[in-house]
Amino acid sequence: MLNSKIPDGPLAEKWTRYKATCKLVSPANKKKLDIIVVGAGAAGAAAAASMAELGYNVKVFVYQDSSRRAHSIASQGGINATKNYKNDGDSDYRLFYDMIKGGDFRAREANVYRLAEISNNVIDQFVAQGVPFAREYSGYLANRSFGGVQVSRTFYAQGQTGQQCTLAAYQALMRQIKAGKAEMYSRRFVMDLIVIDGKARGIITRNLVTGEIERHGAHAVVFATGGFGTVYYLSTLAINSNGSAAMAAYRKGAFMANPSMAQIHPTSIPVLNDYQAKLTLMSESLRNDGRVWVPKNKGDKRNPNDIPEEERDYYLERRYPAFGNLVPRDVASRAAKERCDAGYGVGSTGLSVYLDFRDAIKAQGKQAIADKYGNLFDLYTKITGMDPYTEPMRIYPASHYTMGGLWVDYNLMTTIQGLYAIGEANFSDHGANRLGASSLLQCAGDGYFILPVTIGDYLSEEIKTPKISVDDPAFDKAEKEAADKLKKLLSINGTQTVTSFHKRLGHIMWQYSGMVRNEEGLNKALKEVNELREEFWKDVKVPGKIDEFNHELEKAFRVADFFDLAELIITDALHRKESCGAHFREEYQTEEGEPLRNDEEYMYVAAWEYTGEKSAPKLHKEPLTFENVKVTKRSYK
């Protein structure tokens, strides 16, 4: 039975009570304890720095050449906090409520409330670290409203909030490295997790420069490995983002929760060519001033500026009058797909819709729009060669964020003792759909303020455990398995490249397990993924050697994991016979095409347990109870 270890007491007091009563580790003992952190984006770097500040010995592993490259850096829009600087009635409860409702009542109340509660500390911390957030002429911090909420609570640094916040965490980590409390292992790929006597005790890594397989032991392991949206091949993620660490944990006994909850972001630049390796996001903040529309006539190929007002279908404003263009991401994405599937899409492929700033520029002036979105417009122009000041942007949904991830309890610990998952790598806070500007908040909240406290509760029991020896047979076994897997990939010497497999896998996932799903399609996808995996293990071509810098080998290892992950995602999507948030099953919708939740049967977190290579994963349910909000139909009409 899953125990989420939620502290007793009223919602608003749980975290305070927890902090007041959790076990602590004395400074002298902290020095004796080692912690491994895998991944150092906003969550990982914040956690590593904060735990090093506390006195733990922290080892940080990243696949990039520097932790400053982690994909948190690409987060654009902002970070939410309940400062209520705008005096528009914001509060912890309101942010909590918005996130629960935005997540379509599939997130855990206590975790979400805690996040709302510490949101202000996160902003304070970032400001103190030198994040140049936008300011008013008075010198005080500015806020804007952001996707799907009715208050202005988002702090931002133009369209580069993620960059500024991630760099602040990175700098804090660099400071600890200089102080000798943290150690950085860059260009390392995590191949396996070491579990000894039921406790996470280390990792096996591959040095990407030398190809060497290395062992690292620690008293606790933290996975801050981000999301796995790259399972769709084309996504807004960094091209090397992957799900391998999560899959390693899963195979070692960590449950995977709601893996099918994958957010498709509505405002990405559409696919432009067949060789495209990734999709670029246009911040959702653009929907504050941009109006989304398609022509009222099918296949209207006219220049958008020549299409008169009465022949434009502002379908979001039409369908959702209360929220209009600001509906949550899943709603906006599906609406775009619906219009394009119905034949109203624009652009050469017919797979895009317009995001038009004409009216905003008319009302506010070009300068005001440039001030708000200048760098996003420039980015768009650079990629497409089109000028959003004079013609509407073209956008289309793209795989973006995974709400699902490793199952964690209130302590952010997975079902493996001593293995923690933070940031996007875990599942806890966003339910079935994530609200804008809350991913940075979750990363920073987990990293700065939650994990450094909760990990102490566990490590207080570990103070007598000596340094973890890497000579343990568990390390021998895992290292051999890792090496064998690499050797096998190299030995196949087939005819197809790793990328071609990844593309095909992505296509299956996008087609059948993307924005809209149905049982038939999912079953088909399951079959196709299995066939493709078999083909992969027979016919993939991986050049080069094991003991050298070998990018193709890295990719092959990741894609091999993506197959297993894809299977898990589809299994989860198949089992959830309801539509909620980003998970939209065609069989379960209202007459108007809105998602139909099934709270009686599916108000739970689906946590999947690995049972072996050939056997189906086992489902565990964490029932969700909502004591502090009224469970309603999520309506943005």
Partner: protein, 246 residues
């Protein structure tokens, strides 16, 4: 279209390395430069050759991982972009494109077009931060900061650490990178307490790591994908004089 590529190939850090010429047919104008290299690698792998190693990650111009010296300049012929944002449409059918790694003593080559830029991490470690522990921060609005100052700090803070400045500089100097961080933190009241110590230690580290000196040529500013201003270097100089003379 058809292009010719002169690409630097180097098996390992100690290998001497050489240029290898590739003729590549079927390149589309809609590809990005890196997608063109992906396409080349695809062909090389299928032909049983070793693909060209190059770094890239976000492919949207923000992580700073990519960065190649294309036809004699960092990130190719377009101003204000990273390598991953370069489109093949700027090249013509029949063009020869020379692709080299960023070259500097402080950026040793790892393989082919991949260089080791950990010296940038070391620079930040030497002082590119504000020493505030988690939890020690005051209320965010307790220190108002002029909008203009915050914007200047932001303009310096958007550095992506790609190393184009070092690659472009005839002296392989890291002054623009270092000055962007020093200037960002020295502009903000939060960072001023440590400003003197920071500029001293960062400059010392910069010299130690073997970067060249600034001769005010302005090549860094001209080639910076984020168009970070030389103003920051002047600001850093001022900060340094304040720290050493004052």
């Amino acid at each position: 279209m058809k292009i010719t590529l002169d690409i630097w190939r180097q098996k390992s850090p100690n290998d001497k390395g050489k240029f290898v010429r590739y003729e590549l047919d079927g390149v589309s104008k809609e590809m990005t430069f890196l997608e063109m290299l992906d396409y080349l690698n695809d062909k090389l792998i299928k032909a049983g050759d070793e693909p060209v190693a190059f770094d890239s990650d976000c492919r949207e111009g923000i992580c700073g991982t990519c960065g190649l010296f294309i036809n004699g300049r960092p990130n190719g012929p377009v101003k204000g972009i990273t390598t991953c944002q370069l489109n093949m449409s700027v090249f013509k059918d029949g063009d020869t494109i020379t692709v080299e790694p960023f070259r500097a003593k402080a950026f040793p080559v790892i393989k082919d077009l991949i260089v080791d830029r950990s010296s940038f991490d070391k620079l930040i470690q030497s002082g590119g931060f504000i020493s505030v522990n988690t939890g020690a921060a005051p209320e965010a609005n307790s220190i108002p900061i002029k909008k203009e100052i915050a914007e200047r700090a932001f303009d310096a803070g958007i550095c992506i650490g790609c190393g184009s400045c070092v690659a472009a500089c005839k002296n392989a100097s890291a002054m623009l990178f270092v000055s962007a961080k020093i200037s960002q933190l020295a502009l903000l009241p939060q960072g001023q307490t440590e400003a003197k110590e920071r500029v001293r230690t960062m400059i010392r580290e910069m010299d130690r790591l073997g970067f060249g000196n600034c001769t005010n040529t302005g090549a860094c500013e001209a080639e910076c994908p984020k168009e970070i201003s030389l103003w920051n270097i002047a600001k850093m100089n001022r900060e340094y004089y304040k720290a050493t003379l004052g």
